[in-house]
Amino acid sequence: MSDQVATAPAVDAASLTFDEALAELQRTVAELEQGGLALERSIELYERGVALHERCAGLLSQAELRVQRLVERAAGELVAVDARAEEQTD
């Protein structure tokens, strides 16, 4: 949008972690609920909120559990090796 009200440069929602996106979504809704906003600002915040929600929902539905196993090497050095949890399919 060419005429966006000047605001903190928004990071692309798709690059946020779940927690980052959720925190920003909560801030956005709080700001909207506080009221007294210009129409442009309201819409802008709303559109941002929808993008943040899409990011969170996408992460929730697409995430796959990662499983690692700590292995102790000879010198006591620890390494986390990716492992597959047995029979995670069901």
């Binding site: 809704v29 909207l32 929902a57 929730l60 995430a63 499983v67 690692q68 700590l70 620890l78 949890a85």
Partner: protein, 554 residues
């Protein structure tokens, strides 16, 4: 011989009358380990002839021939009837009383086998310490006769002991002897005369170590509680959505699989880091401590490497169900201290609901099972998704309110503008409003349309917000309209009046003297401006204002 209706709870030494005065006798001297009952041991039992009480042949047999022991009797009467006669058995009529023969007298004549057996039996019976005893050992071979009596051996490294567990006692016992188990047996020793063997007649049997473990459990619990290790005040809250979860459990077996499954279903955004350990048997406590320590070190390492997000935020310590002994390593003091000292909150899920270990007390959160521990550690993604949708609904509701307010304002402005007729301004405002409304409609379409039912819920919440917004916008608008009306020269121009200025100095011409012939003038009309030149004095019957057809005309 079958016993009908034997008393179940008679003391096994009940055949010894306890009211008999003790008499000095070697045999009546208790060994160090004897119970107090010894002191009242009736000497008469030892010294007086008495009817035979031995078990008839064929009633009881050594364990090697269980088929002959179909119905072994209890070897002693359970009633306190010391002299209760038993039916004479075929082989038992005796020519003389057996005891007390001084040992010397045995040496002087040839003895019968039964005399020796009887002497041994009486010697055994006179040892009060053998009448009521507890023995710990490992169960050897077990045979159960068709009548339901169990015969087994109890052994240690050096010796073994034949045991008889009669049917009624066995059936009322919660615990069965099984080969290989370590058990503690309560009962008495007696001689089975027909076979010339001594046996342990079992009254009760229980797994070895139970009482001992229970005592140690309570003692350690009291000690650690006194140190404050189980205080509620030192329990740490669990993180809401841990990104990394440490798991200390066995790498093989259902527990690890169950935890993976639960977390994959509920919160697949997390990462599990398994720190494998041995969860039962020799060395398991040390192994659990080592596993927790590895997780500690891993967390430190991640932070030191500048990736604190990889450090476990919470740890699950888990083990499946098992016997008290199986779970015992979770009562180990080292494990308890390792749980308490762990840098992140520990959720303990050991055994089943009913199993409680000291590690459970020490943990920040106790879960009834390993799967329950996994559920406690992560949120359910479907619930979180519902919370997220609710947030967006609320946002949509807010925007709907703002749009409604703006539309109301726009309507009022449009009416005011219509009155003033600045069409260019109006067109611009319409364009701007149209653009905003288009955008708002785009943004809201779908989100709001799909969620009418939520909107209704939201309406009550939003109403105050909405009304407040409408309120101040209306005030602002009224104020500006009134201002415009007061100032408005335009309204005058609209009625056909014009404003005449001198080009040279923009002075408004109020007097013909100010505009001599030839003066260049500028005439402001309602919808524009025209140039003019003053032509003549008022006396001249010429036009008041000379049209200057430079700009458009009406």
């Amino acid at each position: 011989m079958s016993r009908s209706g034997p008393p179940q709870n008679e003391p096994l030494w009940g055949d010894i009358p306890m009211d008999e005065p003790a008499a000095p006798s070697d045999r009546s001297k208790p060994p160090d380990w004897a119970l107090p009952a010894w002191d009242s041991l009736p000497v008469e039992e030892l010294v007086a002839p008495r009817p035979p009480r031995q078990v008839p042949a064929g009633d009881s047999a050594p364990p090697s021939r269980p088929e002959h022991r179909a119905e072994p009797p209890r070897a002693e009467p359970l009633q306190p009837e010391p002299l209760r006669p038993e039916p004479p058995r075929a082989e038992s009529p005796r020519a003389e009383p057996l005891r007390p023969e001084p040992a010397a007298s045995f040496a002087l004549r040839i003895l019968q086998v039964s005399e020796i057996t009887r002497a041994v039996r009486d010697a055994v019976r006179s040892e009060a310490g053998l009448r009521d005893l507890w023995v710990e050992g490992e169960v050897g071979r077990v045979t159960v006769s068709s009548a339901g009596h169990a015969y087994f051996t109890l052994k240690d490294e050096r010796s073994q002991l034949a045991c008889v567990f009669f049917r009624d006692d066995r059936l009322s016992s919660p615990f069965e002897p099984r080969t290989g188990l370590r058990v503690v047996v309560h009962g008495r020793i007696d001689v089975f005369e027909s076979q010339g063997v001594y046996q342990l007649y079992v009254a009760a049997i229980q797994p070895a170590g139970f009482g001992d473990l229970a005592l140690r459990f309570e003692a350690l619990k009291a000690k650690l509680a006194a140190e404050g290790l189980f205080e509620t005040a030192r329990k740490r809250p669990l993180p809401d959505r841990p990104a990394v979860i440490g798991v200390a459990t066995s790498a093989t077996g259902a527990v690890w699989h169950d935890i993976c499954h639960v977390v994959a279903r509920r919160w697949p955004l997390a990462r599990l880091v398994l720190s494998p350990c041995q969860v039962q048997g020799e060395g398991s406590a040390a192994s659990v401590v080592a596993a927790l320590d590895r997780l500690t070190r891993w967390g430190e390492r991640c932070r030191a490497d500048g990736r604190p997000e990889d450090a476990p935020a919470v740890v699950i310590l888990a083990r499946g169900g098992g016997s008290l002994e199986d779970l015992w390593s979770f009562n180990d003091e080292r494990v308890v201290r390792a749980v308490v000292a762990h840098p992140v909150p520990v959720v303990c899920g050991v055994g089943h609901e009913v199993d409680v270990t000291l590690a459970d007390f020490a943990a920040d959160v106790r879960a009834p099972t390993p799967s329950a521990a996994a559920e406690l550690v992560v949120p359910d993604r479907t619930e979180v998704a519902a919370v997220l949708r609710e947030l967006v609904r609320r946002a949509g509701g807010c925007v709907a309110g703002v749009v409604a307010g703006a539309q109301a304002e726009l309507g009022a402005e449009a009416r005011a503008l219509d009155r003033l007729q600045p069409s260019a301004q109006l067109a611009q405002a319409r364009e701007r409003a149209g653009y905003l409304l288009d955008r708002a409609t785009r943004a809201l379409r779908g989100e709001i349309g799909r969620r009418a039912e939520t909107e209704r819920r939201l309406a009550s919440r939003l109403e105050p917000v909405l009304l407040a917004q409408l309120g101040w916008r209306r005030v602002a608008l009224e104020r500006s309209s009134a201002g415009l009306a007061a100032l408005g020269p335009q309204a005058t121009l609209n009625r056909g009046y014009a404003i005449v200025r001198r080009r040279s100095d923009s002075l408004i011409v109020r007097d013909p003297a100010e505009a001599p012939a030839g003066e260049r003038l500028s005439v402001r009309l309602a919808k524009g401006e025209i140039g003019a030149i003053a032509a003549a004095t008022a006396a001249d019957p010429g036009p008041e204002v000379a049209p200057a057809p430079k700009r458009g005309s009406r």
